[in-house]
Structure formats: C-alpha cells, structure tokens
C-alpha cells in the first residue's frame, strides 16, 4: 500500500487489475485503492511476473503493507503476518467518566506576597506571617519586609518542622568539605594583603560596661556588636572593601551585609550575614546577632542566609589569642579579624601602663585595593571603636 500523502495512514483495496501469472511493466496500473480523497489508481514501480496477491478487495490495510508479490521476491518476507492484518478504524475517544467537582475550599484566603518580598524575606530570615502587608489588598511588598527587618522584630522560628536532620557527624563532614573548598579557592585566587593595628580598647570596654549596667540582661550588648558596627560603618564610608569580585572585576555593593563568623558545634565555621548592618542600631544589631547565633547553634540556618555577606568580621572572642590572620571569603574582597581583648603594656604620655588592647587585622584583595586604602580603612574602624557612643 503506497503512501500518497503525509496524512494518509491506510487505504482500502477496491479492485485488482492483475492476477497471479500476469507480466507487469513499470508504470502499469495494477489496482484501484480507495482513500479519503477518492479512488486512486496504483501503478507498479517494478517489472516482473505476479506470484500472488496478498490483499483482497474490500480489505483496508495500513500504508506499507505488501499488496502483491512478484515471483522471486525474498522468501522470508512472504511469511510475515503483516500482509493479512486488517486495520480497525481508529476508535472514537471514549467519553471521559464524569469527574465530581472538587468541593469548594474553605479556610483563610491565600496571602498576597510579591515575589520580590518573598525572596528578600528568605534572605533576611524574616517570617512572612509576622509581616504586615501595606500594598493593594494587603499585599506584602519589599518595603514591608525591609521595614519589618529594620524594626528588629524578633525572628520567629520557622513554622514548618525541620526535616529530619542528618547526623551531626554527617553534617560536620559535609561542612568541612564546603569550608575546605572555599578556603582553597580563596587562597588560590585572591591575592591577600594584610594590615594590622592595635587599639586601646579601654574606653570602649568602659562604655560598654556602663551601657550594660544600666539595662536588663536581654538588652545588654556584647563587645562583638561594637566590632561589627564599626566595620560596617567603615565599609559604608570607604569604597573598595564592600562587595564582590566576580567576572573579572569588582562589583561594589551599596548595602553593607556584614558576615559574622560563628563557630558551629561539632567543628567548622559559618559566616551568615546581618543585612544592612551599618544602618542598624546597636540594639537591633544585637538582636540580629543573637538570632543568627541561635540558628547556627540549633542547625536551623537557611541556605539563603549564606552568600549574601558583602564583608566579613571574625572575632576570636575570649580565646586568649592576640592576633588573627583571617582568610577572605570569596567572592568578598575583605575580612576584618579581631583578636582577644587582652591586658597588655601600652604607652600613655610617655609612661608604660596596662591597657585592654585589641589587635585588628585587615585582610583585603589586592586586585581591588592596596595598602594605603587598607590603612585608611583600618584607621576608620579604629576611630569608630574609639567613639562607641556614636556607633
């Protein structure tokens, strides 16, 4: 059965014009076939003697089905059952069973939250249920999320139960790998330069003690808050230390998201970001920090909390180490490390006196800034720490 058109799938043999034993030449009309378009004469493209007819008048067969065999045609093909298979008309599609309508849903209408607001809330760790929407029809917008974060509202625990956590050991090993990769990359790709300065931290420490004494425990500040704020302010004031190095060039960030290095129980360090740290009050910064630390300790960090820091602060706190040589977290371009506050000899008015001394180390990307820039940046940090009341 020949194909006579791309939409032809089968044809019905109407009449044979030949019989077994006839000699057929190329071009001879051998049969009439009925198609949707009418009856069409079929010609032979081969010459030879007809051995047998394979299809009878009235039979409908698919395109490509042999209709007749010449003497000498390949034997095994002749045994194929295909020649005698009639084709059933394609069945009309069975009517679909009636599907019962879904019951009208009850319950509260779905909240309207813009995609940008959702993405930003995830980044900040803001619980959207707690955010008031001020857009049309109560839509929660970007502005609403930002306002909420800035107001320092208490971060709620995630509503959904955490999925079954992998074992602590498993998590730790995985984290080690991630840290290893990042640190290797940093050392490989970023040309670090280091500057270090020592600061008489006594005024700041005294200020902090007075501040905390006047407040109940939940409102007290940790020294780390001063360090973070000082670095964030300096980063906002001086370009070159806040942003990312990517695609072969420095891409500064207008916002300062300070990554804070936090130790993870079981080993390893993470540095999630406090958004717009330069703009938060010390109290708000403290709350954000508390929240971050709490989530790190309970293993409830969200992946969106990583990767958004534009500069990192690493403080060794009470470990008793003078100096820290930090490693930049790619793709950032700077990191500030703080040693422990230790009683050390200091010179005041020509005399040696004991002071609370803090060593501040800046590691920066030499592709973006150089020593002079770094020196000025570090000087800013020190200046801010020397005037904690203005932080």
């Amino acid at each position: 059965m020949p194909s006579l058109g791309s939409e032809m799938e089968s044809g019905t043999l109407v009449e044979w014009k030949i019989k077994p034993g006839d000699v057929v030449r190329r071009g001879d009309i051998v049969a009439a076939v009925e198609t949707e378009k009418g009856i069409i004469d079929i010609e032979s493209f081969e010459a030879g003697t007809i051995e047998r007819l394979a299809v009878e008048p009235g039979m409908r067969v698919a395109v490509d089905t042999p209709l007749a065999w010449f003497v000498g045609a390949v034997a095994e093909a002749a045994t194929a059952a295909v020649a005698t298979a009639p084709v059933a008309a394609p069945a009309a599609p069975a009517p679909a069973p009636a599907v019962p309508r879904a019951a009208a849903g009850g319950g509260a209408p779905r909240r309207r939250i813009s995609p940008a607001a959702r993405a930003h809330a995830a980044q900040l760790g803001v619980d959207l249920d707690a955010v008031q929407g001020s857009g049309p029809a109560g839509t929660v917008t970007l502005q609403d999320v930002e306002a909420h974060a800035r107001a320092g509202a208490r971060v709620a625990a995630p509503a959904a139960p955490a999925p079954a956590a992998p074992s602590a050991a498993g998590r730790s090993a995985a984290m080690r790998q991630v840290i290893a990769a990042a640190m290797s990359r940093s050392k490989r790709e970023i040309p670090h330069y280091y500057l270090q300065a020592a600061l008489d931290f006594t005024p700041a420490r005294d200020w902090l003690e007075a501040y905390n004494a006047a407040r109940p425990v939940p409102e007290r500040l940790l020294p780390a808050v001063l360090l973070i704020k000082a670095v964030a302010r300096a980063a906002a004031e001086q370009p070159g230390f806040n942003g990312y190095y990517a695609e072969g060039r420095f891409q500064p960030s207008t916002a300062v998201h300070a990554g804070v290095a936090i130790a993870v129980r079981g080993g390893g360090l993470v540095a999630p970001a406090i958004t717009e740290a330069d703009r938060l009050t010390l109290a708000a910064l403290m709350q954000a920090l508390t929240g971050l630390v709490g989530r790190v300790r309970t293993g409830r960090m969200r992946s969106s909390e990583f990767g958004s820091a534009t500069i990192t602060v690493n403080s060794l706190g009470e470990e008793g180490i003078d100096l820290l040589y930090p490693i930049i977290q790619p793709p950032q371009v700077a990191i500030v490390g703080f040693g422990s506050v230790l009683e050390r000899a200091w010179v005041v008015d020509g005399r040696v006196v004991p002071r609370a001394v803090l060593n501040v180390t800046l590691a920066a990307d030499h592709r973006v800034t150089d020593g002079r820039d770094g020196a000025r940046f570090l000087a800013r940090v020190l200046r801010h720490l020397a005037a904690p009341a203005e932080l």
Binding site: P2, G5, K37, G38, I40, E43
Partner: protein, 329 residues
C-alpha cells in the same frame, strides 16, 4: 497558436533535447516511487507531460539570466543544470540538498545558477521576477528574468499587478505561462471568464504568443525569439505554452475532476512521444539512441538516489541558522 513551424534541427541538438526531457521524466517517475515509500514527504508535484517547456525555454537563456519557478520546478532545476544528486537530496531533506534540505520538493534554490525557487504560493513568484528584472535594468546589465507559472496564477491579483508593472517600466521579464488546463482540480473554463491567457497579457501591452507546449522545438523557437527581443530592450514578453499534466496535481489526488480517457488521449500526445516519433521519422535519431539516453537517465537517477540515501541530515542544533543572514550579501 504560433504560426511559425518548428525549425529543423541537427541530430546533436535533437539528442540534447531528448536527453534533457528523458532525464526529467526519469527523475519525476523515480520521485513518485520514493514518495509512496515515504522517502519523500510533504507535497510532491510532478512535471510529467510538461517537460518540453522547461527544456525549450531554459535552453534559450544564458547563465546571467534569473529564473523564478513554482512548486512544480524539478524539471526547471534539472534543465538549468542543478546536479541531480543535490536535487534528489533536497527531495529527501538531506543537508546536501541544493537548499540545504530546508525547502524540499517545493523550494529548490540554486543562487549560483540564478534559480530563485521553488515558490509554493501560486502567483507569489511573479513580483520577485519583476524585481529581479528591475535589478538588471537598473544596473544596466544584459540579463533578463524568466518567470514560470501555471494558468491558475492568472486568477491571482499578483499576476495582474506584476504584468502591469513590468509593462509600465519596460522590464526585461519573460513570462512563461504553463497552461496545463487544471489549477489543482479546477479546470480553466470554470475559473476564468476569458480563457485565452495570452490575450490577457496582450491587454497589458505585452508582446504575447500562444505556443504548442508539447512541441519542444516550437517552444524553443518561440523562447529564442522572445529572449532576443527582450535583450534588445523591447520590454517584457509573454508565452502561453499549452500543455497537459499527465500525472495528478500532487501525489494525493484522486483526479475526480477529469476523465481518465482525457488523460490517456493526452498521454499519446505528450512531448516525449511526440519528439521521439518525429525525430525517428526524419531519421535524426534511432531506437538505439533512445534506449541509450533512457538508460543513461535511469543510471543517473539511481546514482542520485544513492547519493541522497547516503547523505546526512542537518543537525538539529543548526535549526536557527539562516533565520537571519550570517554575512552581508
């Protein structure tokens, strides 16, 4: 009908004309078979019966002339010198086809031979031919544009617009109407109030003649005369070549619109039988010559099929190539 009798010709020329027509016939018949085997897909429009027109007219053109044809253009492509291998590969849709496999049976392009399609819209090629002729005139070049179309195109607005523009601007266009009496399934008498086609061209002030399209020598003589006149700056010319389509409009056509007896009668008057008979009668060629030419044509076709079968498909990754030009023309 044109009054001038077919001029006597030499044996060499007779063999040339017969061979050319046999090549086309062999190619078209093989395509019919390949189509039933689903090697050629889509639409296939075969030229059987009309070979004298392509061979006669194209023989009168030069390499600098441009040609626009319809979807029934395999004969024109072969007569223009498009090699049979790439032409068959184009039927298959292979990347070695003359249009890169992109067009298939209806869109044969060979710009190196100034063949601009292969056009599937009835009447759609006429304005393009007018433009190609305009370029020749504008650039003061001696070429002309030959435009082939069926009598069905005469009903389209573009026919009238194009003839008028060509006459108005005296453009070097040779309009060749292949009047095979049926536009798909509609007979000429059922679609045109005036069926004398060349009279319509004359109404636009174009030199027009009707020619026996089954007589390759008559077509050739008429074409040569027109080509000379056009190159001389006499403006466009029009040849109505009266012929008959021995096969259906396309493969999937039950031919409900015409009598089998009519087709059979015309088969006896077809260009191959006609020319062979007359050449044998005058002793110009022999039966051996005919067999030899037929065999050569058949072998050439088989080689072309082998070429097409062995050729590769264009990679799907190249699908978006040539939507826009890759280089300035």
């Amino acid at each position: 009908m044109s009054a001038a009798p077919a001029a006597p010709t030499t044996r060499e020329h007779a063999l040339e004309l017969l061979g050319a027509m046999l090549r086309i016939r062999a190619f078209e018949d093989r395509c019919a078979q390949l189509y039933t085997e689903q090697k050629i897909r889509g639409f296939l429009h075969l030229y059987n019966g009309e070979e004298a027109i392509a061979v006669g007219v194209l023989g009168a053109l030069g390499p600098a002339d441009a040609i626009v044809a319809t979807y029934r253009e395999h004969g024109h492509a072969l007569a223009r010198g498009v090699p049979m291998g790439p032409l068959m590969a184009e039927m298959y849709g292979k990347r070695t086809g003359c249009s890169g496999g992109r067009g298939g049976s209806m869109h044969v392009f060979d710009v190196g031979r100034r063949l601009y399609g292969g056009n599937a819209i009835v009447g759609g090629g006429l304005p393009i031919a007018v433009g190609l002729a305009l370029a020749e005139q504008y650039a003061a070049r001696p070429g002309l544009a030959a435009c082939f179309f069926g009598e069905g195109a005469v009903a389209e607005g573009e026919f009238h617009e194009s003839l008028n523009l060509a006459a108005l601007w005296k453009l070097p266009v040779l309009f060749v109407c292949e009047n095979n009496r049926y536009a798909m399934g509609t007979a000429l008498e059922r679609s045109e109030a005036v069926t004398d086609i060349h009279a319509k061209a004359a109404a636009y002030g174009i030199r027009a003649a009707a020619v026996d399209g089954m007589d390759v020598l008559a077509v050739e003589a008429a074409a040569r005369a027109e080509v000379a006149a056009i190159r001389d700056g006499a403006g466009p010319g029009f040849l109505e070549c009266r012929t008959y389509r021995l096969r259906a409009h396309s493969m999937f056509d039950a031919q409900l619109y015409r009598d089998k007896a009519e087709v059979e009668a015309w088969r006896q008057r077809g260009p191959l039988i006609r020319f062979t008979t007359s050449c044998k009668a005058t002793g110009l060629i022999s039966e051996e010559d005919f067999q030899r030419l037929e065999r050569a044509a058949s072998e050439e076709v088989e080689a072309a099929v082998r070429f097409a079968e062995a050729s590769e498909w264009e990679p799907v990754a190249d699908l978006a190539r040539h939507v826009y030009a890759e280089r300035a023309p």
